[in-house]
């Protein structure tokens, strides 16, 4: 603890509160004992951080991750999740504490290289990524402004956080390199032949839209993530298994189950909105992109007609694209 060793953590915290900005400290009001416990476990004194500074860090964390009107329980849940030891180490490094840097180096240097290689899937590029990140952390931390470490708030382990910002840097680098690819190179790769994505706003029965909205809204956020990641973002089962810490077969079963349940829910929703079972099934099976092609083909066929039927009048699922061709 800082200052007088005879004073209790609560006394010191009270002193810290008294010297601090009351507005900023509000989110942590009534959590003195918890903060004192966290201060003890954080080993902040090892790097010369006082409880005032430590409390300030927690205020910053609470302000960043919680709404201003968050209740004490939400604050407690957040603080219980925070990796206070890592947070203190990061802040001590930002402050230029030599001992903290020694700990940081011994603890994370090797794992940074491992993470770089795992992200880049290439030894030299992985080392380059790690060196680049390390240079940012060290160089900026020593003299040239705010270190990226100052944005670490203890949410997630420091090692995981370093891995995340390294991966983000890898994606940024990849994206910037892609932007530098000339049009000539792109055309050589055949990219100019790629058709543009279909325009949004296809003709779909509003009852289908409403039922889909309703069914998706009833899903758990993690289930929505699973579906979108697998079907839309082309994540593999293996990737999803690693993200959610599940087995691949478990992920596979869950996607099966969610998809089947979602279909049923949408069909039920449409039936509640006045469709027959058959109509609902047909509406669900019809492919929106095919409907667009269908509309486009009809527009071309009837180019000379003065009045074109609006696409919304098409009965979804009434005609498959093959029927037109």
């Amino acid at each position: 603890m800082s200052g007088n060793s005879n004073s209790s953590p609560d006394d010191e915290l009270a002193a810290g509160l008294a010297t601090g900005n009351n507005v900023r400290l509000n989110p942590l009001a009534g959590l003195h004992t918890l903060i004192a416990d966290l201060f003890t476990t954080s080993e902040a004194t090892r790097f010369g951080l006082s409880i005032e500074l430590f409390t300030g860090m927690l205020v910053e964390v609470a302000a960043k991750y919680l709404p201003p009107d968050a209740g004490a329980e939400a604050v407690r849940e957040l603080l219980a999740t925070i990796h206070v030891k890592d947070l203190v180490l990061a802040r001590a490094c930002v402050a230029g504490n030599e001992a903290a840097w020694e700990v940081f180096l011994s603890r994370y240097r090797e794992s940074l290289y491992d993470a770089g290689m795992a992200i880049a899937k290439d030894h030299s590029l992985g080392r380059e990524l790690a060196d680049s990140l390390y240079a940012d952390l060290w160089g900026a931390g020593s003299a040239h402004g705010a270190s990226p470490l100052s944005s670490y708030m203890g949410y997630g382990s420091l090692e995981g956080w370093l891995r995340t910002i390294m991966a983000r840097s890898f994606i940024d680098r990849y994206r910037s390199q892609r932007r530098l690819v000339s049009l000539e190179e792109e055309s050589q790769q055949g990219r100019e032949l790629v058709s543009p994505p279909p325009a949004p706003g296809a003709a779909v029965d509003p009852r289908l839209e409403e039922a889909t909205d309703e069914a998706l809204g009833m899903l758990d956020a993690e289930d929505r993530f699973l579906l979108a990641s697998f079907f839309l973002h082309d994540r593999t089962l293996g990737e999803l298994a690693r993200i959610l810490r599940l087995h691949e077969s478990t992920v596979s079963r869950r996607i099966h189950k969610i998809t089947a349940g979602l279909r049923k829910q949408i069909v039920r929703g449409m039936m509640r909105r006045g469709m027959s079972r058959r109509q609902a099934d047909e509406a669900l099976e019809s492919d929106v992109r095919d409907l667009q092609i269908n509309v486009r083909a009809r527009l071309q066929e009837n180019l000379q007609e003065t009045q074109i039927r609006p696409s919304s009048q098409q009965r979804p699922g009434a005609q498959k694209p093959q029927d037109d061709e």
């Binding site: 960043k64 991750y65 939400a74 849940e77 957040l78 999740t81 603890r107 090797e110 794992s111 992200i119 944005s151 670490y152 708030m153 203890g154 949410y155 997630g156 382990s157 995981g160 956080w161 891995r163 995340t164 910002i165 991966a167 983000r168 890898f170 994606i171 949004p200 779909v204 289908l208 839209e209 889909t212 909205d213 956020a221 993690e222 929505r224 993530f225 579906l227 979108a228 990641s229 079907f231 839309l232 994540r235 293996g238 990737e239 298994a241 690693r242 993200i243 810490r245 599940l246 087995h247 691949e248 077969s249 996607i255 099966h256 998809t259 979602l262 279909r263 949408i266 669900l284 929106v288």
Partner: protein, 344 residues
Amino acid sequence: MPELPEVVRRHFSRAMGGEDHPDAGLLTALIEGTLTQTHRAAVFDHLVACSECNRLVALIAPEREVTSAVQPVEARRRWFTWTPVRWAAVGAALAVVIIAVVIGRIDRQTVVPGAPSARVEQVPTASMSAQLPVLVQPRTSRPSSKPAQPASHARQGVPSQPALSRGAALAAAQSRPAASGDVLGENAFQTSMMSDPSAWAELSPSTGEPPTVKPEPAPAASVTAPALPTGPTEPMWSLSEAGMLQKSNDRGHTWAAVAVPSRVPLHALSVLGQEIWIGGDQGTLYHSTDAGQSWTAVVPTANGVPVSADIMRIAFADQRHGWIATRNGEIWKTRDSGATWSLK
């Protein structure tokens, strides 16, 4: 895999882009399973809409071997949905439970005859052992320098892994992955320890004799039968089927993954109070002196050659003396908390 209705795809696509990205901390917490309920839905919904962050979380997710037991779902369901097979499975599970209970009773009656305070081992069922391949409960007090052993072994003057009753040994055997290809299994490791009385002599340097029966202290073994904690706050530790370290603070009702630096599957775990050792593929060995808060990589090296085989068992008698057994049959020994090692 069934097709997602196109209308659902379109709804997802409509939501894409336009939001602020969650910071690195939130994504890290998601991957580490520590995201609070306050942020969980928001982060997942962002990942639905943002392909960039979706790709990012796939990049930062730790590498694990999760493909080993993947089978087509339909193929597995087809035979298991056959009712007689289901009933046969239930019957087999019941039989295993009954046999385990009977063996446990016989064991308590015969192994330590007349001992009034012999340890009561909880004999796990097959399902328990399947859930908890390796489960270790930390000891609150330092173990006795002389490990206890069954009376029968003491009479023969042969040291053995102490206090592992037949029921406990059965549990330990059940807790091993069945198809791991473990050349040096628990029995081989115990045999190796039994054939080297000097190993136990190190624990009782004054006599150098095999230890005598003592019912009360816990053994110096890395793998013990699952046992209920004696105190309400003692955490239980185990390795998941996927080889990840996990911890329970409520007597095994719920388990939480514990972050470790290693991303390779773990096979071995030893817990001694605050001291935790974990070992896994390709000689991966980590040591924590603060109950898993921080980890130090340890590379056992003898004559300039580091261990490279998969570490399958770890046993620490006290903070300083320990052994590791590798898949290819090597036994490595340390007398100084892992600072130096010798290869037997």
